[in-house]
Symmetry: C2
Subunit: 470 residues, 2 copies
């Protein structure tokens, strides 16, 4: 059976200001309504014989993974939490062990969560070809047939044919310079290394044990000592941290004798920057891609993305990327967007937070958005999902007013427990032990006005929490 | 005595999105802390022998004029409200009649409210020269000595000398083409028509009666039938509307035999566009002008203006104007900003409001800002000035929750009148007659959460209003 393994550990900021450390690229809806993670899951799910996907992600992103799976109605095959980032080799090993526990013949389809594939039929065909090789104990890399001389990717040179459009891997080569990339393109025997792989779980672990025993041992130990936490499987922190940090490419694929490649043309992109998003997106006759409320006059070849409740007007510009969010706007020349990391580095150095999280923050119970702030007060819009509850908590420094604008909230305030309906309000004094719960079937939306001398998120004492955060 | 007349009737949108119909350029702080209107008033006020300034403005802007005068502690010499825009000739006539009522020998210094003058000493010297001519019944235009071949202004050609650096006007000439403007610059006898004038009120009215009797008669009738409204003098609407719409230049200055010009170099600009603001503003070593929270990387010769609580990051761009506001952001090539009117026209055609007003709306009692909105609710931050009161009012369709975050509010809700202090809240049911008042000496800040099926600003029945709006 085919077990998709969704590698969702990335925390890139190359799509800042839309991507943030706590909401990286894979969880954003960049093209269409679904996030790249959701698209990846749905793509895997549509394959014949596909089992529920196994996701490997960072602790910070666990609730987002759970919610995004739920939103598309896909049953999870397990959410494995990496205690620290150790690149792809140990992450895939943990997923392999997890799959083997239920299916001794498990075939793994490894897919980074943040890639775009436009031609799903071509992809499915490639997977079929790869499965035939996987069954024969080959470790298969999906190679993307290059359609231009890209210098930003690693390449795979194919060797002897193993079947129709499948080959031994002759060797992996590093990112080439432009002349070399052009030669690779002309020769027709090179493909981009997509980061997608297919193999038997058993084959991968055997090769890993032989080629990178320290990684294998660490992943094994981390998996054996893992503990379940709600819907998540927490890999053991110390054991996992002991693993060398290495990619599947270096640790296994470049060393094994059983490496194969299936070349494919499937409209693949890793959307590594705003300009690559622009180049894969549908554009209007002037070459513009607009998202949201945009008025553009004499504007060409630009990507313009407005955010909620705000419009962007452009006039006489070209080759720009303009991305607006609640707290930050980027205006960049399209051919310079790879340097957005310079801005992120400046934010880090200045101790700012615009690279870490959005103004609207997702929590396992819903979300909050700081819509207004001033000396000694803050206004938040809070949404509590049906069935969800915030922790039982208290604050040392702030009092809170809650006004329900939709839904029915159950409020605990010290000894009292009562319902608060649309257009009703209550007051939570400083130091009161309180909880907000939604027992209804519709989301609860409420406005919270905080007041006090200190209003930081860290002024919270959690006494009980259904999400294991207390 | 010298009576400054501040013409504040402009409603330009050339600085959109910062300027809006209800908050035009003259009321914005573009350079420094004061608005252009305030700068103009302070400049006039610093002249020897200056009387309190007479302001002519549109009805919509009356409270803003009053407040901005109060904020700089300048006593008003009268705020005349134009019922409709009829250009400068009748507006100045009304101001002349107003000045004459208290001072039969009144000298008027006419100044548009939205110009910048960097060299105040040079300006004062020019006013002195102009006063000598004004006393001799000349109608004096201030001519700006050109320092480049500008094609966007009208020019004044000087004739015979009347004294040191003062001349008869030979003629007014329209905006020239570039070659002609260059010739004007080279010849040294042309000056830009600044729109600033000095003359006796009597001289102006006499000339107007002779050269444009219909304007004179309409202004006279509108002034005679004017009525006082709080601090404002409301010119009679029907009478004023009967005036031809004409500028002082066409109606009087080009026709009178008593036209004089005083040329001056005083760092004057009419800030007619974002690019002219950039060119007069202080810039950093890369040629950039930044306002607010801006991070700029490899950016040159650009004007970047961030708004409250939001940052703008620029990367690899040049010659751009980027202006952010709460509800709209403009990104334009600097040499195209005169076409911002195309965007404003599109907003008008689409029935939108981003050209009319900002999200934060000023009222005579303070301000409100719609900080959050959703189906059936809206959150506003409301500030009530010390001593101010909202109207006694009720709403058909919405209830309101008020939470005071600073200051002490006096609340009327049907029969009850009570104080609401920091961190206290109250509820105003739908249909209740209510009022909010600040009897303290500090501003009251409160968060209002409205709920109901209809939340438009027009759901208000004003039963009493200290600002004459009921």
């Amino acid at each position: 059976m085919l077990h998709p393994v969704i590698l969702s550990g990335g925390s890139g900021t190359r799509l800042w200001p839309l991507s943030r450390q706590n909401q990286p690229k894979q969880f954003l809806s960049l093209i269409g309504d679904h996030s790249l993670f959701q698209e990846t899951v749905l793509r895997a799910n549509a394959l014949p014989d596909a089992q529920p996907p196994i996701t490997v992600c960072a602790d910070d992103h666990r609730f987002m993974v759970g919610e995004q799976l739920q939103a598309i109605g896909v049953r999870s095959g397990g959410i494995l939490l990496e205690p620290v980032a150790r690149s792809t080799a140990p992450a895939i090993a943990a997923a392999a062990l997890h799959a083997l526990a239920g299916d001794p013949d498990a075939l793994l389809l490894v897919m980074p969560a943040d890639h775009l594939i436009e031609d799903e039929a071509a992809f499915r065909e490639a997977v079929s070809a790869a499965r035939r090789l996987g069954d024969e104990h080959w470790l298969v890399a999906f190679g993307i047939r290059p359609d231009y001389a890209e210098t930003g990717y690693g390449y795979i040179l194919r060797g002897a044919a193993l079947g129709e459009d499948s080959y031994r891997i002759e060797r992996f080569v590093e990112k080439p310079d432009l002349a070399t990339a052009q030669r690779y393109l002309d020769e027709g025997t090179y493909a981009w290394n997509s980061g997608m792989f297919l193999f038997r779980a058993r084959s991968y672990l055997d090769e890993l044990a032989q080629r990178a025993p320290a990684i294998h041992a660490a992943a094994r130990a981390a998996f054996d000592a893992a503990h379940a936490d709600l819907d998540f499987l927490r890999l053991d922190a110390d054991a996992f941290a002991a693993s060398p940090s290495d990619s599947i490419d270096y640790a296994v694929m470049e060393k094994t004798d059983r490496a194969a490649v299936v070349p494919v043309s499937c409209g693949w992109s890793d959307i590594g920057s705003w300009s690559s998003l622009w180049s894969v997106a549908q554009r209007d006759a002037d070459g513009n891609r607009h998202e949201g409320d945009v008025i553009s006059v004499d504007t060409r070849d630009s990507l313009v993305r407005a955010s909620d409740r705000r419009m962007i007007a452009t006039l006489g510009v070209e080759d720009l990327v303009i991305v607006d969010t609640a707290d930050a706007t980027l205006v960049a020349r399209k051919d310079r967007v790879q340097d957005v990391k310079i801005i992120v580095d400046q934010l880090k150095a200045a101790g700012r937070t615009e690279h870490l999280f959005h103004r609207k923050v997702y929590r396992p119970w819903g979300s909050y958005d700081s819509i207004g702030v001033g000396p000694r007060f803050q206004v938040k819009k809070i949404v509590v999902k049906p069935g969800a509850a915030l922790s039982l908590q208290k604050h040392e420094h702030r009092a809170e007013h809650w006004i329900v604008v939709s839904g029915v909230a159950e409020v605990t305030c010290d000894e009292r427990v009562f319902e608060l309906r649309e257009n009703e309000s209550t007051y939570i004094p400083r130091g009161s032990v309180h909880r907000l719960r939604n027992r209804g079937s519709e989301p609860v939306e409420l406005i919270e006005v905080q007041s006090g001398g200190y209003l930081g998120e860290d002024d919270i004492v959690r006494l009980e929490d259904v999400y294991g955060r207390s």
